[in-house]
């Protein structure tokens, strides 16, 4: 336990001083890793803790991004206000989906498909919403990138790095306490055996809706970050099902329901993808698609040989029981 804490503290310190010796490229890769680590953690609350498979998390990223983005774009109101609108909207959406699905007793594959359906429905809806630019996309004004304008969340890449690092740390601590709390135990009970949990007097319906609500709120924050980091939003991209899949790859590869899984998975996948790009460039095999084939093969191997993800296997090897 002590070793785990020391390791964690060292990792955190390393991440704080990382920008001092990292170039612009390394910083952008690190930001991407942390972004996926964060969305992975948000998704993990729903699937890893409460066992509800969502394949439509791009819905919350997209709605969150568009809510805060549109408020900034149309009224010039900064994301600190837009953030709350985004969270409220996504929680309302998530609770509505959860309420409908769980009320009618939908679970497993059917629930997953329902989440896809909602995400796709919203994507096509946004394509026809001229207020946010429709399929042509919405572009936020790019301010000068050298001053830290915290109020409007505009600034150099370094600022975004620290913001997302703070978000990941916050989510990590939150999940740590959640797992040890009443809610965490309820969720795990529901994940393992819903009927038994209900027989023990847990209101499974209510707790599942709470899990969706929390997960969508966390994902909404990621959406706001996405909007202001990339500055352009297209429904076709942000609501796409492959976005949802990207979000869930990290936690599944890293280890479902664990604290470190989403972080480790995001790091492994992003580094893998960037590493393959480098490798292919070095070998001179620059044919479109080669990279993704490699990526697919590695994914296949991990799913086949490490069914519980990388983290549980690694933790056993390192004799950590975190």
């Amino acid at each position: 336990m002590i070793r785990a804490q020391i390791g964690l503290a060292a990792l955190f310190l390393l991440l704080i001083i990382f920008p001092l010796f990292a170039g612009a490229y390394a910083l952008s890769v690190a930001t991407l890793i942390l972004y996926f680590a964060y969305t992975g953690q948000a998704w993990n609350v729903m699937m890893g803790f409460a066992g509800q498979l969502s394949l439509g998390h791009s819905l919350y990223v997209g709605v969150g991004a568009y809510a805060a983005g549109a408020i900034f774009f149309h009224y010039g109101i900064g994301p600190w206000a837009g953030l709350w609108v985004a969270i409220l909207l996504c929680v309302a959406l998530g609770m509505a989906i959860g309420f409908l699905a769980f009320r009618f007793g939908i679970s497993g594959v059917y629930f997953a498909l329902l989440t896809i359906a909602f995400a796709e429905f919203t994507r096509i809806g946004f394509d026809h919403l001229d207020w946010v630019g429709g399929p042509g996309g919405m572009f936020l004004r790019v301010a000068q990138r050298d001053t830290w304008d915290i109020a409007n969340f505009r600034g150099p890449p370094l600022m975004y790095y620290y913001v997302i690092l703070a978000l990941v740390s916050f989510a990590f601590v939150l999940c740590h306490f959640l797992l040890k709390s009443k809610a965490g135990y309820y969720w795990q009970a529901i994940r393992e055996n819903e009927e038994a949990a209900q027989a023990l007097g847990i209101n499974t319906f209510r707790w599942k809706v709470y899990a969706v609500a929390l997960s969508s709120a966390m994902t909404a924050v990621a959406g706001v970050f996405f909007a202001f980091y990339y500055n352009n939003l297209f429904p076709e991209q942000i609501f796409n099902i492959s976005r949802s899949i990207e979000i869930i790859l990290g936690p599944i590869i890293g280890g479902l329901g664990t604290l470190f899984g989403p972080i480790l998975g995001a790091a492994v996948l992003t580094l893998l993808s960037e590493g393959i790009t480098e490798l292919i460039a070095a070998l001179g095999w620059e044919i479109p698609g080669v990279k993704q084939v490699f990526y697919g093969v590695v994914l296949l191997a991990v799913v086949m040989f490490l069914p519980h993800g990388i983290w549980p296997a690694l933790a056993r090897r390192l004799k950590l029981n975190a």
Binding site: F104, G108, Y110, L113, I248, P288, G289, G296, L299
Partner: protein, 267 residues
């Protein structure tokens, strides 16, 4: 094509997330055969479907069978990985440009009163009906078909009476893949094929199958017709680009009100 998905899910209970991608592969196979031997896509159905049957069998036997008892998300990931590999292998082999097949009857059409119907579409529909009938009678009348249905109804029971479940699963996946191949060959005449076509058709197949009822073959056909008609009508009255919103709206409604689908059995 939705039929294939329904067959696979109904029996093997694995949700095939690589379905549209497999169909894209079939479409490329048909274009390649056409380019090499001027083989009409409707004749190419036979070799392509046979190859797909073998490939599907191998895929299930080699990769998916060990996953049967694993949780859903694990199977899902597996097929996502397969889908990624397929799409990008196509990208490497065929490049990103759209391809199509041109046959002389493509622009011809039948006149039915005031309606004009493309010949190619009529042939494609006829092919789909024939494939469906074949599949249906296979499951209904042959011993192997019965055995497969037994596996679907009761996995444990099927094992107890001595059926080789893994072999039958692989057979089913092969059959489902063959259906996909048939759909792919027929579709080549109607749309241009690009490597990125897969995900859209995977989603479409899911919508159709769920509306009709997962695991029900009649349901898959009904769902296909229903979705096709509702998209066409929606495209006529509202913006054509908004038409798939109706499919997904329909999907949401069906999932909420009748999650087993219109013709599905209670799980």
């Amino acid at each position: 094509m939705a039929l294939g998905l329904s067959v696979i899910f109904g029996v093997v209970r694995v949700v095939n997330f690589a379905h549209g991608e497999m169909m894209t592969v079939a479409m490329y196979a048909a274009t390649a055969l056409f380019a090499a031997f001027r083989l009409d896509p409707f004749l190419a159905v036979l070799p392509v479907a046979a190859t797909f049957f073998l490939l599907g069998y191998a895929l299930q036997a080699g990769i998916i069978n060990p996953f049967i008892t694993r949780p859903e998300h694990s199977q899902f990931m597996l097929l996502v990985a397969v889908a990624i590999i397929l799409v990008n292998a196509l990208l490497i082999v065929f490049g990103p440009d759209a391809r199509n097949v041109q046959v002389d009857y493509q622009l011809e059409s039948y006149e039915l009163g005031k309606l004009l119907i493309d010949k190619a579409r009529v042939f494609a529909a006829a092919l789909a009906v024939v494939a469906a009938l074949l599949l249906f009678s296979f499951f209904r009348f042959t011993l192997t078909g019965k055995a497969i249905r037994a596996c679907a109804d009761n996995y444990l029971g099927a094992r107890v009476v001595g059926l080789n479940v893994k072999h039958l699963y692989a057979l089913t996946f092969g059959l489902g893949s063959a259906c996909v191949a048939v759909a792919g060959c027929a579709l080549v005449l109607l749309v241009d094929v690009t490597p990125g076509l897969g995900p859209y058709y995977t989603l479409l197949a899911f919508v159709i199958v769920i509306v009709g009822g997962l695991g029900s073959m009649g349901g898959a056909l009904l769902g296909g017709v229903l979705i096709g008609v509702s998209e066409a009508v929606a495209g006529l009255f509202i913006a054509p680009s908004a038409k798939s919103m109706f499919s997904f709206g329909l999907l949401i409604l069906v999932l909420l009100l009748r999650p087993q689908g219109l013709l599905g059995k209670k799980a």
